[in-house]
C-alpha cells in the first residue's frame, strides 16, 4: 500500500508494525502511553497494545535505560523513548557503560537489542535542552549503532529494522521534520538500515548530510542548480557504522566534499568523515573537505537559532569555498 504520511505518522505506523511482528517488543518512556508522547509518535499504541507493552514509566531516563537492560536480558526488545535530546544525559551512564558493553563483556551471552529513540536537532523555537544534536557522543562509543532518518519512508522502515536488529541502536529522529510529508510504500522491500544513499545526483561537489539537514541540503542543491552548479547529495543515514563507499565513489568524480550537520563542528561527525575521505580519496581531491555545522557554543536561545543552525546560504557558501580552491 502506498500512502502519503508525515514522518511522525510513519514512525507511529512503523512502531505499530514492529509490535505486531514481535510480542517481545516493549515501548518504554515518559508520557508515551495515555498522552501518546509529547510528539504523539506513540499515539494510540497503548490503547491497542495495553499498558504492559507501552509503558508509561516514572520520570527518570537512567531508570528507563537501566530497566531496559534487565528486560533485554530476559528476552525482551525494549524501545525506549527519550523525550528530548537534551534529556538523554541522565541515561548516558547506562547507555555507555552498560548497554554498549554488555554484549562484549559477556562474550555474546547477553545481547542488547535495545532501541533508543531520540528526537534530535533544533529549529522548533524551543527552550534550552530541547534542540541538541548529541550524535557524536554515541557514535564515539563502541558497541552502539547510530542511525538518523530524514524521510517518512526511512522512518517507517528504519524503526522496524532497528527494532529487529540484535545490537543496541540509537535512533535519531529529526524533530523539526516530524510534520514533513512523503510517500511511503508499506509493501516495498526496504534497503539496508546501515547504508548511506545518494538522494540527488550531481557532478561538481559532493554534499553530505543526515537527519534534518538532508532537506536543507537538497534545497541548497536546487538553488545551486539554478546557478549552474551540480551538487551530488548523499544522505548518510547511518552514523555508526558509517557507510562511506558511496561517498568515496562520488568524491572520486567530483573531487570536492562538504559535510553538513547541526552539531558543533569540532570533533563532530564531519571531522571523522573528513579524515576518512582524505585518507581514502586523497589523490582525487581538488579541495579540502569542508564542514558546515553548529558553532562551538551552547545551543542558543531560540531567537538566535537561525544564526546558529546551518541553512541553505551557509551550505552554498561552503560549496563556493570548495569550488574556489
Amino acid at each position: 500500500m502506498t500512502d502519503t504520511l508525515t514522518l511522525g505518522k510513519a514512525l507511529n505506523l512503523g512502531l505499530r508494525r514492529a509490535m505486531e511482528d514481535d510480542a517481545k517488543v516493549v515501548l518504554m518512556g515518559e508520557d508515551i502511553g495515555r498522552l501518546g508522547g509529547v510528539f504523539r509518535i506513540t499515539d494510540g499504541l497503548q490503547k491497542d497494545f495495553g499498558e504492559q507493552r507501552v509503558v508509561d514509566t516514572p520520570l527518570g531516563e537512567a531508570g528507563i535505560l537501566g530497566t531496559a537492560v534487565g528486560l533485554a536480558m530476559r528476552g525482551y526488545r525494549p524501545v525506549c523513548e527519550i523525550q528530548f535530546d537534551g534529556f538523554v544525559f541522565p541515561a548516558y551512564n547506562q547507555i555507555v557503560t552498560q548497554v554498549a558493553k554488555l554484549h562484549a563483556r559477556s562474550r555474546g551471552r547477553l545481547p542488547m537489542p535495545i532501541v533508543i529513540r531520540i528526537p534530535f536537532g533544533g529549529g522548533i523555537g524551543a527552550v534550552e535542552h530541547h534542540s541538541e544534536s548529541p550524535e557524536a557522543y554515541f557514535a564515539h562509543t563502541a558497541g552502539l549503532k547510530v542511525v538518523a532518518v530524514s524521510s517518512p519512508a526511512d522512518a517507517y522502515w528504519g524503526i522496524q529494522q532497528a527494532v529487529a536488529h540484535p545490537d543496541p541502536v540509537v535512533f535519531l529522529e529529526p524533530k523539526r521534520r516530524y510534520w514533513e510529508k512523503g510517500v511511503v510504500d508499506t509493501d516495498a522491500t526496504p534497503g539496508p538500515l546501515f547504508g548511506s544513499r545518494v538522494v540527488r545526483g550531481g557532478d561538481d561537489v559532493t554534499v553530505l548530510a543526515y537527519g534534518p539537514m538532508v532537506k536543507t541540503v537538497l534545497q541548497a542543491a536546487e538553488v545551486a542548480a539554478g546557478e549552474g552548479r551540480s551538487l551530488e547529495v548523499v544522505d548518510l543515514r547511518t552514523l555508526s557504522p558509517l557507510d562511506l563507499d558511496p561517498v568515496y565513489d562520488s568524491v572520486r568524480r567530483t573531487g570536492r566534499c562538504v559535510v553538513v550537520h547541526e552539531a558543533p563542528v569540532t570533533l563532530g561527525l564531519g571531522a571523522e568523515i573528513a579524515a576518512r575521505v582524505t585518507e581514502t580519496c586523497f589523490h582525487s581531491l581538488e579541495a579540502p573537505v569542508l564542514r558546515v555545522g553548529g558553532y562551538d557554543t551552547p545551543y542558543p536561545p531560540s531567537k538566535l537559532e537561525e544564526d546558529y543552525l546551518p541553512d541553505l546560504d551557509r551550505v552554498l557558501d561552503a560549496v563556493d569555498r570548495s569550488l574556489g580552491f
Partner: protein
C-alpha cells in the same frame, strides 16, 4: 508482610558514646549471637538441620580461603587487583543460599561468596581480576549476572529483569546486590522507585560494610539505610550481616514475598569490610585499628563454629576436613590462575556487536596483518 519492618522512626545515625559504627540496634535481626548462641526472633524463624549448618560453615570457610588465596596471588603479581570480601562471608553466603534455582542474582564486584553459592567456578572470577576477560562465567546458565563495577547500575538491571519475570509469569525473583555507598547513587533510587511502582519481584540486598572505600556510612546517610525503604513504599529490614542464619532467614522471606507478588524489600545487612576496599587501598589512612578489633569479635565464621562445636553438630574431624578441603581449593585456584593462558589479541574485536560492522571487521583484519608482519620479518 507483617514480618517485615516498616518502622520510620529516626535513629541518630551518628554513634554518640559507643565505639564507632556500633550504635545500639534494636531493629537488628539476629539468630546467632557473636558468641555462637542461637536466639529467636519474633518475626524470623529458621528451621535448620545440623547438616545444613555444617554446609553453611563449609561455604563460609571455603569462600574465605578463596579470598585469602586471591589476595596472596595479587601480592605475587598473578592478579591485577582483588576486592576482598573478608568479614562479609555470612552476608553473601546467607543471601546466596536463600536464592532458589530460578532466582537471578545481580552482583557488584565483591560478591565472590554469592558466586560460590551459584556454582560459578572461582577461576572464572579470577580470570576477571587477572585481566584475561570481564568475567568468564555464563550469567545465563549460572543465574549470576556478570560483575558490575559502575556503582549501583546493576540495581536497575535487576529491577528490569524482575519486571520481565513478572510479565513472563515466572516463579522467580531478582536479587540486587549493592553496598552502602551505592545508596547515594541516583540510579539506585530510580531502581527502588521503579521496583515499587511496578511491584517488581526484586529484593535489594545492601551490604552495609560501613565504608565506601574511605567514606564512612555517615557520609552517605543521616538515617539507618533500611529506613529509606519506607520512603519508597516497601519494607526495609536490618539484619546482622555477620550472622549467616539471620541473613538466610531474612533473605528467604523477602524473596518469597517478591515471588508471591508482594513487591520489593530492602535488606540492610549490617556488616564490616575487614580488609581493604581492594588490594590497591590502604585503610589505615581512614580507620582505626580498634574498630577492626571490635568487629573481629563479631566474626561470622567463628560464631558458627562455636555454635556447631557447642551443640555437638560438628566435631574436630569435620572442622579439620573443611580446612583440608580449603587447602585443596586454594591449590586449585593458585594453579589454575597461574596457568591461565593469555587471551588472543583478536578477542578485542570479537563480540563487540552481535552483527559486527564493516569498520570493525576491517580494523580486525588490519590488526591481524600488522602482527603477522612481525612473524614474516
Amino acid at each position: 508482610m507483617s514480618v517485615l519492618s516498616r518502622t520510620t522512626e529516626l535513629v541518630d545515625p551518628v554513634p554518640g558514646d559507643g565505639a564507632p559504627h556500633l550504635p545500639d540496634q534494636p531493629d537488628l535481626v539476629q539468630l546467632l549471637t557473636p558468641e555462637g548462641e542461637r536466639v529467636e526472633h519474633p518475626d524470623y524463624s529458621l528451621d535448620v538441620s545440623a547438616e545444613e549448618l555444617r554446609a553453611l560453615y563449609r561455604d563460609l570457610v571455603l569462600v574465605r580461603r578463596w579470598d585469602v588465596e586471591a589476595t596472596a596471588l595479587q601480592r605475587q603479581g598473578e592478579l591485577g587487583l582483588w576486592a576482598s570480601l573478608q568479614g562479609q562471608e555470612a552476608a553473601q553466603v546467607g543471601a546466596g543460599r536463600a536464592m532458589a534455582a530460578a532466582d537471578m542474582a545481580f552482583p557488584t564486584y565483591r560478591e565472590h561468596g554469592v558466586a560460590w553459592t551459584r556454582d560459578v567456578d572461582p577461576l572464572h572470577v579470577m580470570s576477571l581480576f587477572r585481566g584475561v576477560d570481564q568475567g568468564g562465567w555464563d550469567p545465563v546458565a549460572t543465574r549470576f549476572n556478570l560483575y558490575t563495577v559502575v556503582i549501583g547500575a546493576q540495581t536497575l538491571h535487576a529491577t528490569g529483569y524482575a519486571m520481565g519475570m513478572q510479565r513472563d509469569g515466572a516463579d522467580g525473583a531478582a536479587l540486587a546486590f549493592l553496598g552502602d555507598g551505592a545508596t547515594s547513587q541516583g540510579e539506585v533510587n530510580e531502581a527502588m522507585i521503579w521496583a515499587a511502582t511496578f511491584a517488581a519481584p526484586v529484593v535489594f540486598f545492601c551490604q552495609n560494610n560501613q565504608y565506601a572505600i574511605s567514606a564512612p556510612i555517615e557520609r552517605q546517610s543521616r538515617v539507618p539505610l533500611f529506613q529509606r525503604a519506607s520512603g519508597f513504599g516497601f519494607p526495609g529490614v536490618r539484619v546482622d550481616g555477620n550472622d549467616v542464619l539471620a541473613v538466610l532467614a531474612v533473605t528467604r522471606a523477602a524473596l518469597a514475598a517478591a515471588r508471591e507478588g508482594s513487591g520489593p524489600t530492602f535488606i540492610e545487612a549490617f556488616t564490616y569490610r575487614m580488609g581493604a576496599h581492594t588490594t590497591s587501598d590502604d585503610p589505615s589512612r581512614y580507620r582505626l585499628a580498634s574498630e577492626l578489633e571490635e568487629w573481629a569479635l563479631r566474626d561470622p565464621i567463628a560464631r558458627l563454629k562455636a555454635h556447631l562445636a557447642r551443640t555437638g553438630a560438628a566435631d574436630r574431624d569435620f572442622f579439620d576436613a573443611v580446612d583440608a578441603e580449603g587447602d585443596e581449593l586454594a591449590v586449585r585456584i593458585r594453579t589454575g590462575t597461574r596457568e591461565m593462558p593469555d587471551p588472543a589479541g583478536t578477542e578485542i574485536f570479537d563480540h563487540v556487536y552481535a552483527e559486527t560492522t564493516p569498520e570493525l571487521a576491517q580494523q580486525r583484519a588490519e590488526f591481524v596483518a600488522y602482527h603477522a608482519s612481525f612473524e614474516e620479518a
